[in-house]
């Protein structure tokens, strides 16, 4: 590709010229215009900037993460639908998508769902709930929190920018395996879009990981020792440990791939001494901890939910903590199970296979304890419990499929088949997504001040639960029929088509489930007075977040509680301890636009690096650096909240 100093690899051909790039561009512009129109009409620009975008309040940041993840979820589901439709049509035909386009779709589907949807939803819920559960007012580094959010958003924007400029996304699969992602086989910029959107959001995730880790270690309420923390905090802590140790590997590995592509280095090329297998090893050394990052928070959420709705302490708290730790440690030792078929030999393969199977032990312990919690308790089957039962079933089923593949000779047959695809979707849908749905429903009254409609919630569950089986059981079967993943067409003599069609029907059912959830949000909002949460404790909760009003005041706690037992709030309720009324002043962080400015500079730097525009890259980098330096000289990043103001806020909420 020819390069121009001012515009790098950009040419007029980079502008949209396919139906989907034009469509995508039009959609983006339309949505942007509509939002801008509404904001102008309601004169809400200043409000948006002051109250939301520049906020350092983890509750606001959490909500923004959730909204962003929701938008990306819509995009990812669109990709999924297109994949399903193509595979249902393409028996002895090319279907409606070219091979290359199809390959771009599943690549972006994977990257979006992993990096922006699941991570986004989890960071959103964690921002809201972790400070509340540990009795803190904020994260350890409020500014970094804002920066992390905006870096993630800029990564998401960069990933979707190809619709407008470039016209193509990577065709390599979500992890950009070498040497397919190298210059020899991919000379354009589309792999660079993947690399830099991952770098930006990866940096955001890393900062969030550091932030939550330090918060949980350093900012707990007095008396809350580690073994008195709620299990959601414990599993999140484990996930944060995984983030800080694994994400640097992703950063370094994609950097090396990028160096191969931009400076013609030879880390992973086919030839010149490059080692394509090394990329696979490195990327999965990140990749495997990543999938545990996606499920550990869900485990913690479900522990909270089952305890609350069973009116019972979680069974075996100590075991549950050690199970989470064991999963965390083991997740570093299993990465090779993603490529048993690369020919490492029986000794190496067996080691990794057996260690993988060991993860079933803490998983099993958790399942037993969850069931035991229900057994000894008095269960109220509100909709979060429906998601919980669905999760238990899918976790066992998907886990079984995982251990099935942990045996190398079995894996030789099902590797890269639809059986594999069905397994990991079972885990991501059944554990991570169900966890997000359950957690959102559970904490929704705390966040918004009103409950979600229960009937619609249960209906959504049924559609997702049944839809899951109709979608993914055929995929497990297809794996056994020799169906490789990522095929854009196939011969009808394979007899795969009927199963693909059934699977697509399942997708339609799931899509109805998503639609129901959107309806649930809208209708619950309309009925918010009827569903409002007056007490702050709608479920008779056990942990500290239920101590505050719904939603909490912007400072969370007027007085930081003293904790002496494991289920601090439950204890307070049993002992009927009155809330403390002696208010003392404390500091809170001010809002700042610096997170946005740095992320915008970083976005332009990323864009420039994709298109090989050195001057713009330098400008972006220097701009971001300058902002950081300016910020470091800002002495007025916090403000004092006086006791009188606290008194005023508390009494207006009926607490004073």
């Amino acid at each position: 590709m020819k390069k121009n100093f001012f515009t790098g690899k950009l040419t007029f051909e980079s502008l949209p010229d396919h139906w989907y790039t034009i469509g995508g561009t039009v959609f983006i512009i339309l949505v942007g215009l509509i939002v801008a129109f509404i904001l102008t009409k309601k004169k809400r620009w200043k409000w948006l900037w002051k109250k939301w975008l520049t906020s350092t309040d983890p509750k606001r940041i959490g909500t923004m993460y959730m909204i962003f993840a929701g938008l990306m979820f819509f995009r990812g589901m669109l990709d999924a639908g297109m994949i399903w439709l193509q595979q249902s049509l393409a028996a002895d035909s090319q279907g409606y998508l070219s091979s290359d386009h199809f390959q771009q779709i599943f690549t972006s589907h994977g990257d979006i769902m992993v990096f922006f949807v699941t991570m986004g939803f989890f960071f959103g819920l964690m921002n809201w709930i972790i400070p509340l559960q540990i009795g803190a007012r904020d994260l350890a580094f409020p500014f970094l929190n804002s920066l992390g959010l905006w870096l993630t958003v800029s990564g998401g924007v960069l990933l979707n920018l190809f619709f407008v400029i470039g016209g193509q996304f990577a065709n390599t699969g979500w992890l950009a395996i070498t040497p397919l992602s190298e210059l020899e086989f991919n000379p354009g910029v589309r792999v660079d879009y993947l690399i830099w959107s991952l770098q930006l959001s990866g940096l955001g995730s890393l900062l969030a990981g550091i932030n939550f880790l330090v918060t949980i270690i350093k900012k707990r309420a007095p008396g809350m020792t580690l073994m008195k923390m709620p299990l959601f905090v414990w599993t999140s802590l484990c996930a944060m440990v995984l983030i800080i140790s694994a994400f640097p590997v992703l950063t370094a590995t994609t950097l090396l791939l990028w160096l191969d592509r931009v400076l013609e280095m030879h880390f992973f090329t086919a030839g010149f001494g490059g080692n394509q297998m090394m990329y696979i090893n490195l990327i999965w050394m990140w990749g495997h901890p990543e999938v545990y990052i996606l499920v550990l928070p869900a485990f913690g959420m479900f522990s909270e939910i089952v305890a609350t709705f069973s009116k019972n302490q979680i069974s075996g708290y100590v075991s549950m903590v050690w199970a989470a730790i064991m999963i965390t440690v083991l997740s570093y030792l299993v990465w090779l199970h993603h490529f048993f078929t690369m020919g490492a030999g029986a000794n190496v393969n067996s080691f990794f296979g057996i260690v993988t199977m060991f993860i079933a032990i803490p998983s099993g312990v958790q399942v037993f304890n969850w069931i035991l919690t229900m057994f000894k308790g008095r269960v109220q089957f509100q909709s979060p419990m429906y998601w919980f039962v669905g999760f238990l079933i899918l976790f066992m089923f998907g886990g079984m499929a995982g251990v099935f593949m942990a045996s190398p000779p079995a894996d030789f047959q099902v590797h890269n088949s639809l059986f594999l695809v069905a397994h990991f979707h079972t885990m991501i849908v059944g554990v991570a997504l169900f966890g997000i749905f359950a957690g959102t429903t559970y904490w929704f009254p705390k966040i918004m001040g009103f409950r979600l409609d229960e009937k619609l919630g249960k209906r959504a569950f049924w559609l997702w639960f049944v839809g899951y089986f109709v979608s993914f059981i055929p995929l497990y079967i297809l794996g056994f029929m020799g169906a490789t993943r990522r095929l854009d067409h196939y011969a009808s003599s394979t007899h795969w088509q009927p199963l693909f069609i059934i699977s697509t029907i399942g997708f339609v059912i799931i899509a109805c489930g998503c639609f129901t959830q959107v309806m649930q949000l809208i209708i619950s909002y309309k009925k918010r007075k009827e569903f409002s949460d007056q007490t702050g404790d709608p479920w008779d909760g056990r942990t500290l977040e239920w101590m505050t009003t719904s939603p909490p005041p912007f400072y969370n706690f007027a007085v930081i509680p003293n904790v002496s037992t494991r289920e601090a709030f439950w204890e307070m309720k049993q002992k009927k301890l009155p809330p403390s009324k002696s208010y003392q002043e404390f500091e809170l962080p001010k809002n700042t636009g610096m997170g946005i400015y740095i992320s915008v500079f970083a976005f332009f730097a990323g864009f420039a690096l994709v298109w090989h525009i050195p001057w713009l890259a330098l400008l972006g980098a220097l701009g971001a650096l300058t902002c950081v330096i300016i910020r470091s000289f800002d002495k007025h990043t916090e403000y004092m909240l006086t006791a009188e103001e606290i008194e005023r806020v508390e009494s207006s909420r009926g607490q004073g």
């Binding site: 330090v214 350093k218 140790s245 640097p248 370094a252 030879h266 010149f272 001494g273 490059g274 090394m278």
Partner: protein, 186 residues
């Protein structure tokens, strides 16, 4: 204490940076013999040259500690002086490294020649990039000492810069051992 969290958080960040280097080190070790017919480390590296670079960095880490000492004693002029010495050492180190790189490129042994050279340039170059960031940070820190009263917050900021500098020195010791030492002897 707020500063306490910030220093702890910075240590956590340093560990993540260490993991980035660990990946680069492991890539180097895997690729160190993949010269694709080209030159190996033994043929390319000059030990006296590298020893000089090492001495520069080791000196700089010592003078950096001195600077930090004077910051704690609120002796601004001495602090700035020693950080300036550190800066000069660091800059000289960087200059030598750039010289080494340009000589290699001129001789046709750039990062494009082989996987071994790619990994060499990347590992050593990433360290050099971090040194550059460290030099910029040090300049800002010297400016800060000059301009601001040395409150605990300010001292904490300078301390983090010093930590970063020491961290880079430790990484260099590994580079010296693994890249140049092992490459030369083994």
């Amino acid at each position: 204490m707020v500063s306490d969290s910030k220093v702890f958080g910075f240590w956590v960040y340093l560990m993540t940076d260490l993991i980035v280097f660990a990946v680069l080190f492991s890539a180097f070790i895997v690729l160190r013999n993949n010269t694709f017919g080209g030159p190996s480390g033994r043929e390319l590296f000059s030990m006296p040259f590298v020893l000089t670079e090492t001495l520069l960095l080791l000196t700089s880490t010592f003078t950096c500690s001195l600077g930090m000492l004077f910051v704690h004693r609120n002796q601004k002029r001495s602090a700035i002086f020693w950080f300036l010495v550190t800066f000069v050492c660091g800059l000289s180190f960087l200059g030598m490294e750039l010289f080494e790189f340009s000589e290699l490129v001129k001789g046709g042994d750039s990062w494009q020649r082989s996987a071994f050279l790619s990994s060499f340039f990347t590992l050593v170059g990433t360290h050099g990039f971090h040194i550059s960031i460290g030099l910029i940070w040090m300049s800002v820190a010297m400016f800060r000492i000059y301009l601001c009263p040395l409150t605990s917050d300010v001292i904490s900021k300078i301390f983090r810069m010093a930590l970063f500098w020491h961290f880079l020195d430790i990484v260099w010791v590994f580079i010296f051992t693994v890249v140049y030492g092992m490459g030369h002897i083994l």
